[in-house]
Symmetry: C2
Subunit: 351 residues, 2 copies
């Protein structure tokens, strides 16, 4: 078996309590004693048992992050942001990938219930908001990334999906587009929904108004975007531009266009979201929206960690921490072909 604190204590000629004090630099310890203890620790290569420490101190020094898929760069970057911040404060991070397990998010609360983690960060655009509120009300420390949560003790870090979507549509309109289609994500995903709202708002402001026929849902996947695009075409309503709620679905549009011989951007302008690395390499380069994902992870982790440091706020006491971060449009070739006139009749797709 490993060495324990009592062994170190004996070797240093002190009590276990003093060793503990040195280990956690809690109270003052005489410099000479501290040296002796440190030396003994080094000599015997002592490592405090994490479980015992956790059991006694009631803290695990660990936070969890729940993401839809670690193999999506956006989420991987968020994780790195969280991890970096957490490690700098002496915390560990445990990552849960729930790909293919939509709706199982509540399972992860067990990590909180059995005290495996001190706090949990959710990146779960489609989970019902109530499940978060319920846990927070029980006194658990949780945070959410990528969506706004209306709950005083749930910090969240998000970007204004509607705002940048308005910019995307305005960009299309400036290029002369009037018939603009939208491909959304899962119906329940809040971020995709907000992007749809921005799309409609912008169309309305531009005096264009929206056509229900120009809206389809993909499922955030390339294949879903591909099929959504084909459905849009089948409806026979002409359009000259497509705004896809993420880059994956935009790639699906590329695929369909390649099969159908539709030229991007001359015949169809395309815009995505996420700044997936592929968007920079594919031909033509895909216009997209960059979210500061690493920053979002880092900022929310910081907020949560500081919450863990404080005394638990009483029920109803506000944590007051909604962090909004800016996203920016990256305009590339796929959306920059200026159309003459821009009248409805210039549409040459659909039907």
């Amino acid at each position: 078996m490993d060495k324990k604190i009592i062994d170190v204590a004996r070797a240093a000629g002190v009590s276990p309590a003093t060793v503990s004090r040195v280990l956690n630099n809690r109270e003052l310890v005489k410099e000479k004693t501290r040296e002796k203890v440190l030396q003994a620790i080094r000599d015997m290569n002592y490592h405090p048992n994490a479980a015992a420490k956790q059991l006694r101190s009631q803290r695990t020094m660990t936070i969890g992050v729940i993401v839809p898929d670690i193999n999506v760069s956006l989420f991987a970057e968020i994780i790195k942001g969280v991890q970096n911040k957490a490690e700098s404060k002496g915390y560990h991070v445990i990552i849960c990938d729930y790909s293919g397990r939509k709706g199982r998010e509540p399972d992860y609360f067990a990590l909180l219930h059995n005290r495996t983690v001190d706090a949990l960060i959710f990146v779960a655009p489609e989970a019902a908001a109530e499940i978060f509120a319920e846990e927070a009300d029980k006194g658990f420390t949780i945070g959410v990334i990528g969506r706004q949560i209306e709950h005083d003790s749930i910090p969240c870090c998000y970007t204004d999906n509607a705002a940048f979507s308005v910019e995307v549509i305005q960009h299309f309109v400036r290029q002369g587009h009037r018939q603009i289609a939208f491909i959304g994500g899962y119906p329940e995903a809040t971020d995709a929904f907000e992007r749809l709202e921005g799309y409609m708002k912008a169309l309305h402001r531009s005096g264009i108004g929206f056509q229900p026929a120009l809206i389809e849902n993909g499922d955030f996947s390339e294949e879903g975007g591909y099929r959504a695009f084909l459905r849009l075409r089948e409806k026979g309503h002409a359009f000259t531009a497509v705004y896809a709620a993420n880059d994956e679905m935009a790639l699906g549009v590329y695929k369909a266009c390649s099969e159908l011989g539709i030229r991007i951007p001359e015949e169809l302008a395309v815009f995505g979201v996420d700044n997936n690395r592929i968007s920079r390499y594919i031909t033509p380069h895909l216009s997209t929206v960059e979210q500061p994902s690493y920053l979002m992870g880092s900022m929310l982790a910081e907020k949560l960690l500081s919450l863990l440091g404080e005394e638990k706020p009483g029920p109803g006491e506000a944590a007051d921490s909604r962090i909004e971060v800016k996203s920016r449009l990256i305009i590339r070739e796929s959306s920059t072909f200026h159309r003459e006139g821009g009248s409805a009749s210039s549409g040459n797709l659909g039907g």
Copy 2:
């Protein structure tokens, strides 16, 4: 505070020991007693405290995975493989991303020393093999992915880097290439080194022999590949094909070619490794090698988990678990332009 086992015991009218037996379905418990206990657990929404359980049982039911960068698809897939297998056996996974911390791998052994994890999986191509051996000899359970380790109690799962590299070069030779350059990774990375060995072996077998001037190291990054390619050109030794030890560096070659007006594959054939998703989208599509990354993660996790289940093998007792998996070439446009003749003078690059 949360409910504890004694609360459940009281509610069910039994002793804590019995509740524990039900929880871990250890020994036989009368069906009726078990029902009562289960009901009480449900009623009070009881969750056993993980730290207490760990401290008492000396097992954390957690394994760790150390990867160079979670935002590299190859590693993300390995992780998913590990996670999937681990979860199916009731284990948690904790992931450590050491990007930008090359050489700090030994730090992660602390996870083992303080019993935060029961086992550790390393995906660390450039770490010194001795550090693993040292830990394994101390009785810790560790495994390695992506390289072969000559140590009886360190299971590993790897692919034959030299073998597929030979195939890559043979493919080039069949296309008529004679002057073939190689861009390696970090000098210490075992996988990149084995790819270099395969490259040299194939050249030798084909009766071509190798030119030291045609070998440069990148650092597995796009930028590194870019610079390595420029260095190769500066040396003035003509070549018509490049084998890059990973796709990232191949992308760097693409970038350089684009700037210099070199056409791929007509003037230069390119081959990468990893089947990075971008390789399928970039123009021209990049030929590459696909490693079964998810499978590697899953298989090694299974091996390690089964090791944890057994009694610790005595020192010197073999775990006997080197798992070799097959990789396959994916030949795309970047390497399929057949050259006439194939004489040395047909080289038109370099100088």
